[in-house]
């Protein structure tokens, strides 16, 4: 023992420097993180708990208390029976409307924007800079300004109040941010790859489909996430450009929660809200890392 300590003392420190787990730095760091996490998770907790209670239990007023008697009746009612206007088939109608809006909008906008971005990044055609500037300026024009003109345009095209019209609107409004996203990604790819493909004789579509697309999975995933969450959460366009039968889930949710007649069924409202948020929530959970990367790429949709 004595010899060993003497040796250690003589040699001085060696190897990895020991760190104390309960240092002041760690306590402050993890303490802050814990408080912030609780702050964000508490509302979600209240929603989940409330949606699993019956109305008598809710009236007791203990909003943080876990349910004494778990019931899934509010969820069933929110999905299949809640009334909005004349329809009493719950949120399910809105869910399928939202699916029918989101899927084509996401596919169409990404297909067009990726080609846009590719052309802007690699082909530098005449006027490319001007075109790009106009597109980016488009991203900063408030939606309110364009709301009514688009109503007129859609009416003239005979698309007002149809899902096709709404899909078109979503695709157009997704264009600036997605084009920027794709352009930045393709610009970051080595230019020599593009040159090599040209020397190999591939043309505009050949290079896009056979060289660029297979290399772009990450950016496509990011674009899909941004578009799905953005379009699914959209309320404004849904309420303005469609009619009650075709309302997306968000609009229907609002109509259920904000109905003024009868008793406020908090449990049904909570269940309906959670159901509506499920799709974006799932997308976030499944693709957490890639979504962060998308934000880092400078593409956050407000």
């Amino acid at each position: 023992m004595n010899v060993a300590t003497a040796d250690t003392a003589a040699d001085g420190p060696r190897g990895r420097k020991p760190r104390r787990m309960l240092s002041r730095r760690n306590i402050i760091l993890y303490g802050t993180l814990f408080v912030v996490a609780v702050y964000y998770l508490l509302p979600l907790y209240v929603m989940v708990v409330t949606s699993l209670k019956g109305m008598p239990e809710i009236r007791l007023g203990h909003i943080f208390a876990p349910p004494v008697e778990i019931t899934f009746q509010p969820w069933v009612k929110a999905w299949a029976q809640a009334c909005t206007g004349l329809n009493c088939d719950g949120l399910s109608r809105g869910f399928w409307n939202s699916v029918r809006i989101t899927v084509p909008s996401v596919l169409l906008s990404i297909a067009i924007a990726s080609v846009n971005g590719y052309a802007l990044a690699n082909w530098r055609f005449k006027g490319a800079e001007v075109f790009f500037t106009i597109l980016i300026v488009g991203a900063f024009i408030p939606y309110q300004v364009m709301l009514y003109p688009i109503v007129i345009i859609l009416r003239e095209m005979g698309l007002y109040g149809t899902l096709t019209g709404l899909v078109l609107v979503h695709s157009i409004f997704g264009m600036p941010i997605l084009t920027l996203l794709f352009r930045n990604y393709f610009t970051a790819l080595p230019e020599e790859l593009f040159k090599a493909a040209r020397v190999d004789g591939a043309g505009f579509w050949g290079i896009y489909l056979r060289i660029m697309l297979p290399m772009s999975l990450p950016v496509f995933v990011v674009a899909v996430i941004i578009q799905i969450t953005g379009i699914w959460n959209d309320f404004l366009f849904g309420v303005v450009y469609t009619k009650p039968d075709l309302y997306p889930m968000t609009v229907q949710l609002n109509n259920i929660v904000n109905s003024v007649q009868g008793v406020k069924e908090y449990n049904v409202n909570m269940a309906a809200t959670l159901l509506t948020g499920l799709v974006p929530l799932l997308v976030y959970f499944v693709s957490g890392k890639l979504f962060v990367r998308g934000i880092a790429a400078g593409a956050v949709k407000g």
Binding site: P190, A196, R198, V199, A202
Partner: protein, 367 residues
């Protein structure tokens, strides 16, 4: 306006200009490259050498001039139609494809029959010794292997002209010298015309049949490596080639009863053995001589000799560089390691002005 192109010319560039907005990158450039010749475009970064190569490849739209390959005017043709293959600095291999798919991509785009593609890939793989790598992805290859595949991609297309854009710059020193030899062997075997862009003078000296030294979008000198090295046409070329660089003395060129001589700060170098390029005129001039053309303590009789004090000694392994002050200006002398003096020693240096280069004061042109 002479439209005929020499029949032996493989690549011929006529009055080529390229402007990006107000910036002129290439200025009315002319270049004739013979069939089977290995030409190196050499110059500092930003001199336009890569730009010139991209213009020949058709990857950049030119502002003016014409480009001929094998006698065909290819000025408006797409890169793939020009009969060129190109090797890039970053290899530019398609990352999602195997080596075999990388090699066959250009051929399949062109609609070449399958058995022909297989035959050509087999030949290229054999020449470059990459047969065991054919089913691998580029990420699983080393730098040297990647560059070999990149060369193979040009090889399978059976092109007339190979263009290399700094192909060895991304490799470490050892691999670079190995692949340099391989490229030279490849050229001997294939006998294609090759145009090779580099900023590395050793690559240029070792590989080239002729070197085009470029600066500011203008070709300064286009000649065989020994000529470029020993008889540079101007001070830029003289200073750009050679490591360590040529020693320069600033002074005056003076005539007189003893013949022409160069005078600087108390010394006078007789130029009776110097081969003048043009009629000398008295005036400010620069006298340049390479470190290996100066003898140190040789004991022989040189047309010019003097004593100097050693400032610094730099051993470089194979030989040693000795820095002295001559006429108040820094001078380096290359000596074998055994004969190296120490700092502070007084030594005698001697050289023959026959091996020197004289440049005039204003334009820096060879006299």
């Amino acid at each position: 306006m002479n439209l005929t192109v020499p029949s032996s010319a493989s690549v011929s560039v006529k009055d080529l200009s390229l402007d990006f907005g107000a910036v002129s990158v290439l200025k009315a450039l002319n270049l004739d490259i013979a069939e089977g010749e290995f030409v190196v475009l050499l110059g500092p970064s930003g001199c336009g050498k890569s730009t010139l190569l991209n213009c020949i490849a058709g990857l950049l739209d030119i502002s003016d001039g014409r480009i001929f390959i094998k006698g065909r005017n290819v000025t408006w043709q797409e890169p793939a139609e020009r009969g060129i293959g190109m090797v890039f600095q970053s290899y530019a291999l398609y990352p999602q494809m195997t080596v075999e798919k990388n090699l066959s991509f250009g051929l399949s785009v062109a609609g070449t029959p399958k058995d022909e593609i297989a035959r050509r890939i087999a030949r290229a793989a054999e020449i470059l010794q990459i047969e065991p790598l054919l089913q691998r992805k580029p990420a699983a290859l080393s730098g040297g292997q990647r560059q070999r595949v990149a060369i193979g991609r040009a090889l399978v297309r059976d092109v007339d002209v190979f263009l290399f854009d700094e192909p060895l710059s991304n490799l470490d020193a050892k691999l670079r010298s190995e692949l340099r030899v391989e490229i030279k062997l490849l050229h001997r075997k294939l006998k294609n015309t090759m145009i090779y862009v580099t900023h590395d003078q050793i690559e240029a000296m070792t590989l080239a049949d002729r070197i085009a030294v470029m600066r500011g979008g203008v070709i300064q000198q286009f000649d065989a490596p020994p000529v470029i090295y020993n008889r540079p046409v101007n001070r830029f070329v003289a200073g750009f080639l050679g490591s360590p660089g040529m020693n320069f003395l600033e002074g005056r060129l003076e005539g007189g009863e003893g013949g022409w001589h160069f005078a600087a700060d108390g010394i006078s170098i007789p130029l009776s053995t110097y081969g003048f390029e043009r009629n000398p005129q008295a005036g400010p001039a620069a006298f340049g001589i390479r470190p290996e053309h100066i003898a140190l303590n040789s004991g022989e009789d040189w047309p010019f000799s003097m004593t100097a004090t050693v400032e610094v000694v730099e051993p470089m392994g194979s030989d040693t560089l000795v820095w002295l002050l001559v006429a108040g200006q820094k001078f380096s002398v290359r000596v074998s390691a055994e004969r190296a003096p120490s700092a502070g020693d007084t030594v005698t240096i001697g050289f023959d002005p026959m091996r020197a280069s004289l440049f005039d004061g204003e334009a820096g042109k060879r006299i």
